[in-house]
Symmetry: C2
Subunit: 402 residues, 2 copies
């Protein structure tokens, strides 16, 4: 099969610098005729995976093999159109990358695209590809999807192979994807997700109160209108509270658990290579280095408690619903302090699915001040396919792209 | 807290060469007073993780941080007594290591201990420690537990953090543990496993016909006596068949999926470091290198089909039951061909839980020709704690160490 012509019009700056990384389909199937991009945290044989950091690229060899998630997509008929920018080592939520340039947010050009899978979100939002792979440890698919007005999924932890994907915090890492419409979000899932998880989310919608309270009032208001339409389809939502500690504590616990694993993953390389990092990234690695295991222990205990609380809520096919992010994307002019406030409030929410390994789909269900904002649906672990089917129904009800 | 005295009487050769890697408890809790060992695939800060291969050890720095799974055990009161031998890069099932010496199987000294977590199994079986951590990709906890007469668990995929553990095939890798009694197997689970998965395996015992047919007749006979006792507790077992293709095809599909991920994980290092490997290991890596993604695709498709078939069987709290391994440990004098036949027949069975991410507990329920043989219980994903509770009940009924 001849290499397809895959023009890479990159006015948004979604793709990494250098020669485009193209790969032709390896077969025909569900995704024939479609083009996708992959975050430059995912291996393609014969190329160096940069992880968005020049010193990482210089100290690592070319990948010997292609990550199975990419091979599977190629075998299903899709063509790889390029590798996309990422926050360095996937450790950040705004989408900033000082080495490669921060991608434009096509849906709100004066705002950050969100990260760490910033380039994948930008490439899809700009229509450069049909879908794109990202990774999500603490929100790195869900947040840029919300910021760029896209559909996005963080699958159940472990549902999609992470072989050939550079780890950040393995107990939290997942590989997800972005699309402009609900049907393709589900179509990619048919190719990548485990079998047997379809067809039975018959429980109630569960309105997670902490996440709604945590959202900016105008975000909650905009998404509440979407919730009301979904209630007409699924019945009245039931209010639930997950933890009396409040959502600020979610962030605190997530941060310590993530920091412990981040330093386990990258402390050795940072110690030996002494790499340069852009603003924010270096500070977060320094904080990870300084995290005492004694501090992480309460985080792990809280995680187990949250799992125990949520599991029975979802056991009967219930679906949690809440704003994906508490606010739209920060303005590009936002200060570091303002960015950090948004980061903390956002991770409080993304911790719900993250700590529990649950699948979360975000739908571009609202706009606030001219910027997109996402609405999330979260189901029990392993119910990814059923959740994607529900997202298709919800998109139809909400008048979103199907 | 003072470093405890942890004598390392290692007549079985379970521990890696060199100064013992001891770590004192970091707190008091459920595991206070207990000592454990950890497979030398798991990071301990300040030491080099050898993965059982001298060239790996020489080309990798000291770990910057301790794997969270070890830190969690230390915080629960246990003391680390040492690092144990592993098959090189965890890629093998007999437990042989030509560089460090193959550990003795204390339960059957003329036979292999099983691997790849050979040292951990030997250390527990010899009574050198109370429990030990291993990893299980294709059977590396379950098989040595069966061979050495131990309780062992391969948890649900993703249930125990793999941060700081060298990967083999990430979509299959898990971290499990060995004990001599059922209660401690469960006790370690209380510390390491997610919350909320307890208390409801109320479905039938499911006798997986392929695995019983695949077992040597004397193994099936010995374990059938145990099954009959469990039927008195749980009701008559229901026979199920998982795939008309037969268990030989399970091995074929597992092999290709594993090989693809193995080469993604280690192809880069092997290409740049050109390491020496012991017999068998080098051949398996060469085969992994030669695996065409086009060959792995049917394996991934079979995996999805098996997941779809098994999921409804276990949805109502059913528990699959079958011989952990088709035969007792091979004799140390077994030829390479004989070892490979055992390997293929064993992986056919271990693929059931492995491909589906399911928790599997093996109980030392039988003996054949003077050697131990394990009986496995497999539950739905995430039901690890309930499965451990069931294993305790089963051990009591079978008269095994509780």
């Amino acid at each position: 099969m001849a290499e397809p012509i895959v023009p890479q019009d990159d006015s948004t700056g979604a793709f990494i610098p250098g020669p485009p990384v193209h790969r032709a389909p390896l077969g025909q199937g569900r995704l024939s005729g479609l083009r996708f991009a992959a975050k430059d945290l995912i291996d393609v044989a014969g190329t160096v995976t940069s992880c968005g950091n020049p010193d990482w690229a210089q100290t690592h060899p070319k990948a010997a093999a292609t990550a199975p998630v990419i091979t599977t997509l190629l075998q299903a008929g899709a063509a790889l159109a390029g590798k996309t920018k990422t926050v360095e080592l996937a450790f950040g939520l705004t989408g900033e990358n000082v080495w490669h340039g921060t991608p434009l947010n096509p849906a709100a050009p004066d705002r950050f695209p969100g990260g760490s899978s910033c380039g994948s979100a930008a490439a899809v939002a700009a229509g450069l590809v049909d879908f794109a792979l990202g990774t999500d440890t603490g929100g790195s698919v869900r947040i840029p999807a919300s910021y760029c007005g896209l559909f996005g999924i963080r699958p159940s932890h472990g549902a999609v192979s992470l072989a050939g994907i550079v780890p950040l915090a393995p107990s939290l890492d997942t590989c997800g994807w972005f699309t402009r419409g609900a049907a393709l979000l589900s179509g990619v899932g048919e190719v990548l997700l485990p079998g047997g998880g379809g067809g039975e989310l018959s429980g109630p919608l569960l309105r997670v109160e902490e996440a709604w309270i945590n959202a900016q009032p105008e975000v909650a208001e905009a998404l509440h209108r979407a919730l009301e339409k979904l209630e007409q389809m699924r019945g009245r939502a039931v209010g639930v509270r997950l933890a009396p500690e409040g959502i600020d504590s979610f962030y605190d616990h997530f941060r310590t658990v993530q920091a412990e694993e981040v330093w386990v993953s990258h402390g050795g390389w940072i110690g030996s290579a002494n790499p340069r990092f852009g603003p924010g990234v270096g500070e977060r690695f320094a904080a990870a280095r300084a995290t005492d295991p004694a501090i992480a222990a309460p985080g792990r205990a809280f995680r187990r408690m949250l799992q125990a609380r949520i599991r029975p809520l979802l056991a009967g096919g219930g679906v949690m619903i809440f704003p994906t992010s508490p606010c739209p994307a920060p303005l590009l002019t936002a200060s570091a302090v303002e960015q950090d406030i948004v980061r903390q409030a956002s991770i409080g929410v993304t911790t719900i699915a993250g700590f529990c390994g649950l699948p979360e789909v975000t739908l571009p269900a609202g706009r606030v001040g001219g910027a997109p904002i996402g609405l999330s649906l979260v189901a029990g672990r392993g119910h990814d396919r059923a959740l994607l089917a529900l997202a298709c129904d919800a998109a139809a009800v909400l008048g979103l792209p199907v």
